[in-house]
Assembly symmetry: C2
Homo-oligomer: 303 residues x 2
């Protein structure tokens, strides 16, 4: 029996808006998610790195997920991040997501202790699966060693797929290392691989991957989705070059603060600039330079 693939295409790790007192703002989040879906985004990876989810406590994530669903976002389009350092937090968030019909969950490994063995990481994922105990659970492993330091090795991925073939069905590779993404694609055919940047979108699709989950989809989702839709056409390489250029323009600055600055500017909504510590907003000079660089470019928000 073939497991249904709940996600394909371009997913956005959705930015989390905060009020001035740094409380998450569910109304702006719902509005932003609706806009992303209108842009052609096929899944909402809420509570990822870009979402500052690791700066939110479990209750805040639960309340926001409830608010999204109450706000009319279809739960099967949601792939919330649920991997925390503590087993009990991961189990709680994962169970809540599954019970609410989320299409999948994106699971960071526990990232405090270092070094940890593959045995220990396997045990963590296995405990989560057993404790959640719900046949609807679909896990996407979240591999982001530049930030989390702890990651999923190829051997660990293999063990997890073998033990839980209908649960551990995919991976987001934010290593930034195409060799790693390619190795996973080659070794695990049918495993749903999403690189963490649209820079690798075309290469991923040509190698059998499912799409990408990329921060810049928060502001440039339409163009990234357009490449996904037309990747077999003669335009593909040109479209890839265009979205890569925009990405490079943005990632010259701290990514999360830069994306919030862009939303604040082009939506004329300064509240979007708020970030939670330990992040800081862009300096005024950086903000001006970034916006200046973008005003000469075509992209969805600027339209």
């Amino acid at each position: 029996m073939k497991t249904v693939k709940p996600f394909a295409g371009v997913l956005a790790p959705v930015l989390t808006p905060f009020r001035q007192d740094l409380v998450p703002d569910p109304e702006r989040l719902v509005t932003h998610c609706r806009w992303l879906l209108e842009q052609g985004i096929t899944g909402l990876a809420v509570f990822g790195t870009t979402s500052e989810a690791n700066s939110l406590c479990a209750e805040e994530r639960i309340d926001l997920l409830d608010a999204l669903i109450a706000g009319g976002i279809r739960s099967e389009l949601l792939m919330p991040g649920t991997g925390c350092c503590a087993l009990t937090d991961t189990v709680r968030l994962t169970a809540h997501a599954v019970r609410n019909g989320c299409g999948g969950v994106l699971v960071l490994p526990p990232f405090y202790y270092k070094p940890v063995s593959d045995d220990g990481l396997f045990a963590q994922v296995a405990e989560v699966i057993e404790r959640v105990g719900d046949a609807r659970l679909r896990i996407y492993l979240y591999h982001i060693p530049p930030i989390a330091v702890v990651g999923y090795s190829l051997n660990l991925i293999e063990r997890l797929i073998k033990e839980y073939p209908s649960v551990v069905i995919g991976l987001k590779d934010s290593s930034g290392d195409w060799n790693n993404t390619e190795a996973i694609l080659k070794r695990f055919p049918g495993f749903d691989v999403f690189p963490g940047s649209e820079v690798f979108l075309l290469a991923t699709l040509r190698a059998g991957g499912m799409g990408c989950i990329t921060a810049t989809a928060n502001v440039n989702g339409a163009a990234v989705s357009d490449l996904y839709d037309r990747w077999r056409t003669p335009e593909a390489d040109r479209l890839q070059a265009e979205i890569t250029t925009l990405r490079k323009t943005i990632e010259a600055y701290p990514m999360i603060a830069a994306l919030k600055q862009i939303l604040a500017h082009f939506r004329n909504d300064p509240a979007w600039t708020a970030v939670r510590p330990p992040l800081v907003g862009l300096t005024r000079a950086d903000a001006q330079a970034l916006i200046g660089n973008l005003e000469q470019k075509k992209f969805a928000l600027a339209a």
Copy 2:
């Protein structure tokens, strides 16, 4: 006005016992804390790295702290770890500790996002202090870059001391780098510095430090405390050499699992071996080798 120093001497980052289902075991924890105090330990740094605190959710830490106090542990002897990735978790745990009369709190920086600026880390600590809003709050910064990666730079320490002189009163330095400990001691006289290993205890005391907060105090607290009591005597260097030797014997193995194995063996209480993922217990061979090495040595538990 001189701020009273709530802690001096040898503190233990207390191991957290788990039941077989990986639920924390408050009874064993209270018993272990009482024994540590009998050994001459002057403070209980519960919920540190050694405590697997980052594998516990906020509620589990709160419940355990309540159980310790209900179990008769004097709250002024407690220095719980309260620093989490999420501002809201750190505020919640810190406020709970202060309201319950804990002598101080040991605060990890938010350790997920990397790199982060000193401005961002300053903002996090400042937000915690302002939100907790309690004059009794005493913060010890927890600097452990080998694990947390994110740490407190000397410039950041200086800013925090200047802005909050009666709150940010000390630091645990688990860098393992004596040059860093020494630099902090020299630059901030009167700031309460505790290295994260008894290997540096004598050097720390000679340089004006307050003691140490060391994992091995869980099994060898009496000898470490003995050096603290006699550091000005001719025996000091010999005592330092002895506790250093025992430390090296233990840290040849993964520290937390090794300490739990030692407690399990010498107390004849196998339940102590349980660790939460992502940690794993010692292999049988490692456990036998470790215990074999220790049986030829003198230390409190073996007595």
